[in-house]
């Protein structure tokens, strides 16, 4: 038998697809909607609490609200609960700020064994780094476009 030909590869992949279970997209979507929405409702409640009880303005309450959500996410990551919750919730737990906090906290915990500098310091952004890089780069271009349009119009 010689090496596997391209045709054999294609034929096999068609066969294998019949056996590989698909991700349950409908179920995952409903769960992501409920959990993602739920996290946002929780955030809204926290923001209301800051406005009502701590007398923040709505705008000023945004930062401490995000901080509380991040803290909760990091605590549940450290307790080993967040990843199990995420397996159930899927995109619902990944998209909000709690998901971002989880990427950093889980990487920091994982690489703690390589020390504070090379491990925690060097690898904490291993998963989150891409979000930051593309976030900053896209923000730069959006700002650039806005500046140019603003000057042309002005």
């Amino acid at each position: 038998m010689g090496p596997v030909s391209r045709q054999e590869q294609m034929a096999y992949q068609r066969k294998a697809r019949r056996y590989i279970p698909n991700r349950p997209i409908a179920k995952n979507t409903v769960r992501a909607f409920l959990v993602g929405g739920g996290i946002c409702v929780l955030g809204q409640a926290i923001q209301h609490a800051f406005v009502r009880f701590a007398h923040f303005t709505v705008k000023d309450a945004a930062n401490p609200t995000v901080a509380v959500l991040i803290l909760l996410s990091v605590i549940f990551t450290a307790l080993g609960v967040y990843d199990k919750f995420a397996q159930w919730a899927g995109g619902g737990s990944a998209v909000p700020v709690t998901g971002f906090a989880n990427t950093m906290a889980s990487a920091a915990m994982e690489y703690r064994s390589e020390g504070w500098v090379n491990g925690v310091g060097g690898s904490m952004f291993k998963l989150a780094g891409a979000v930051i890089v593309f976030g900053v780069v896209s923000a730069f271009f959006v700002a650039l476009v806005r500046y140019i349009i603003g000057h042309l119009a002005g």
Binding site: M1, M10, I20, P21, R23, Y111, S113, L127
Partner: protein, 339 residues
């Protein structure tokens, strides 16, 4: 006749498996085969400071217990062969720091155990060794870190994913001293059917297992019915179905004695099992702890174990390379002379 056909080695002296040791992690201990394992842990960290040290501790325990059961000291061993899934085989090689014995690393991903058994049996059959120590280990958390994500990262795994087995197994091979003999080994070929997803290693590995089993049957003139059990290494529930389909496609009758170590080691309802077990220790623990016990008790007389390995690395995955796979098979037989 030392070689049969193109890929099968026949060991005329039928080297024996004189002792076997298995060490299981928490989920494996709680699984359907839990009581088959010698040492059962209830904490996968095992009091160690890193996951890598925990895996090394598993390997240490299996090697020490296999020697103790055979009543041997390290200096009685002529050769050690084995592997693990960590880059540069750090669990295997570092656990051998305690032993001043000739050693070789045998990386073939999760097919390592059959490669090691084949080379170990070859060394005894050819007279290069009197006693060979064989063993492999794997750990869920070291594999997650190396091949996937940090353990606490909340990524949703698809239903085709498999759980890396935490544990280790070791055995001592010798010329005489047990009814369990290694009589043949079929050396597999590297096959790449173009699958890319590390979540679908079961589908990537199934054709390699089918090819090795088909080659074994062609080389020996046997059928699957000549075996009391035919077990693949870690195809899991998904890969096993594909394998049966592929064998039938080749015109090979598939009796219901064909199974998979990744399906046996976990119950599908255990947490985070998905499509079954995988990993370097999966085939080792099930073979040494369960399959060979059936031979020892005389319930079975002859079995074929075909360990399966996906030869990917983190770099190859990130560069979106396809996943080449390999499967090596070993035949175990019960010899009534008992020597």
């Amino acid at each position: 006749m030392p070689k049969s056909g193109r890929q099968t080695w026949v060991f005329a002296s039928a080297p024996r498996v004189i002792s076997r040791a298995t060490v299981a992690g928490k989920n494996e201990s709680q699984g359907p085969l839990g009581t088959c394992f010698d040492i059962r842990h209830h904490d996968d960290r095992m009091g160690e400071d890193t996951w890598e040290h925990a895996e090394r501790a598993l390997a240490d325990e299996a090697f020490a217990l296999a020697l103790a059961k055979a009543n041997l000291k390290p200096e009685d061993i002529d050769l050690v062969v084995g592997a693990d899934l960590n880059a540069q085989l750090i669990s295997y090689f570092f656990s051998l720091r305690h032993y001043a014995v000739p050693a070789m690393g045998m990386y073939a991903a999760c097919a390592s155990i059959c490669q090691s058994l084949a080379v170990g049996a070859l060394a005894i059959d050819s007279g290069m060794a009197e006693r060979v120590l064989v063993g492999t280990s794997s750990h869920f958390s070291t594999a997650e870190r190396q091949f996937r994500f940090p353990t606490e990262y909340g990524a949703q795994k698809p239903p085709s994913a498999q759980r890396t087995v935490t544990g280790s197994g070791a055995a001592v091979l010798a010329r005489t001293g047990s009814p369990i003999a290694i009589t043949m080994a079929t050396v597999g070929q590297v096959l790449d059917y173009g699958l890319e997803s590390p979540w679908e290693m079961n589908a990537a590995m199934a054709p390699a297992a089918a090819a090795t089993i088909a080659a074994h049957l062609a080389d020996t003139g046997r059928t699957l019915a000549d075996y009391d059990c035919v077990a693949t290494g870690d195809l899991g529930f998904v890969g096993h179905e594909i394998l049966c389909d592929l064998l039938k496609e080749r015109g090979i009758a598939v009796p219901d004695n064909v199974t998979d170590c990744g399906m046996l080691i976990f119950d599908r309802n255990q947490p985070e099992v998905y499509s079954g077990g995988s990993g370097c220790a999966c085939c080792t623990m099930v073979t040494f702890g369960y399959l060979l016990r059936k031979l020892e008790e005389g319930e079975w007389r002859r079995i074929l174990v075909a360990a399966t390995g996906a030869l990917l690395s983190m770099v190859s995955v990130q560069q979106q390379d396809t996943i080449p796979c390999i499967s090596h098979a070993v035949v175990f037989e019960r010899k009534e002379d008992g020597s």
